[in-house]
Symmetry: C2
Subunit: 205 residues, 2 copies
């Protein structure tokens, strides 16, 4: 598959509780659109990923965690993206990620809209998106049926789906959030988007 | 002290065995010069820093380490900086860092030239800069007296100096390489140089 061509696939892995994932989420669709492509969004459970790869959540690492908190605030200001550290951080993101995949099977554009709303709610409005009720509220504002979604969030199928997506991500080498693939080429971090762009341009790196 | 002003101090911490430190080293002087400033180079022992902050060398972390190796090769190509993973990696960098500080006390421009030569020797020419003899060779090519430097590398004073610089760096919050401060504001990583630049510009972040 040629780089930068019509068949270029750009995948965007993130956790709903990852600030760097949030920052990247505000840019990835525009980046893909510049090449006439649509990014494939893939929420995962970063906690599971870190356990499998024997790493700790960034915020738990002494010194580095404090720096990260400072860096997030600064990055929000510098990228002009509304951000403040949520009062509950990090949070479990099963509900949000399950809702995403349930929507994605029906309407992938709606699923992306939901993801953007949920990330904004958490990082800009301090909504605790670990609560299924909050997730259902966010989806309902996009005209998703409350009862149907509430029920879906409890279904074994959707739980299994998220587990599978997370394990597949680990299998592909994902070890952080955000994580991108352009036709399989891996890029870790919101600060690698300039590389993602170059790869999309199809130059022979 | 005003940001972006004539008194702006930009400090550049790195380990001689750090690929991201090497990439940053090829750009930091130009960045400082754009603002009429000279970067203060500060080699440190990253191994000591990581131990103090309970972290592991990047290359030792499963999955992430392999990704990093791939990222370094790719970054060299994308930034057009000659790079290949040295056959011995990482290496102890006491000799190079001690030589730097000994030179720095005499002629800081010469010390920076030496640092650039040593980084290039290691990352572009596969020279094992853990060997004091290699370090002396690199300095000698810049007309530094071999005997004087060889002797200096063994002196308790220069050993103590590097220890102090490394401990001071840890005290300031350095936990990786490269690490920058602009008037005390911390920036970690070669991919934060756009932020360093914005900070130098003195906009009110």
């Amino acid at each position: 598959m040629g780089k930068g061509g019509q068949n270029t696939i750009i995948e965007f892995y993130f956790d709903f509780s990852s600030p760097y994932g949030y920052f990247a989420s505000t840019r990835v669709d525009d980046l893909a659109a510049d090449f006439g492509r649509t990014a494939v969004w893939k929420p995962i459970l970063l906690g599971v990923v870190l356990k499998e790869t024997d790493m700790r959540p960034l915020a738990d690492i002494p010194i580095k965690g404090d720096y990260a908190k400072h860096d997030w605030e600064r990055m929000g200001r510098m990228m002009n993206i509304p951000y403040r550290l949520p009062s509950k951080f990090p949070v479990a993101t099963q509900a949000a990620a399950r809702a995403f995949y349930w929507l994605d099977d029906r309407d992938s554009e709606l699923a992306r809209l939901f993801a953007k709303s949920a990330l904004h709610a958490y990082f800009a409005e301090n909504v605790d998106i670990s609560l299924p009720a909050a997730v259902v509220d966010i989806a309902a504002a996009l005209h998703v049926d409350r009862d149907e979604l509430s029920q879906a969030l409890q279904s074994p199928a959707i739980k299994e789906r998220l587990r599978t997506e997370t394990m597949n991500a680990i299998g592909k080498g994902v070890f952080g959030s955000p994580f991108f693939f352009v036709n399989g080429e891996p890029f870790w971090g919101s600060d690698r988007m300039w590389m993602v762009k170059k790869w999309m341009q199809g130059e022979n790196w």
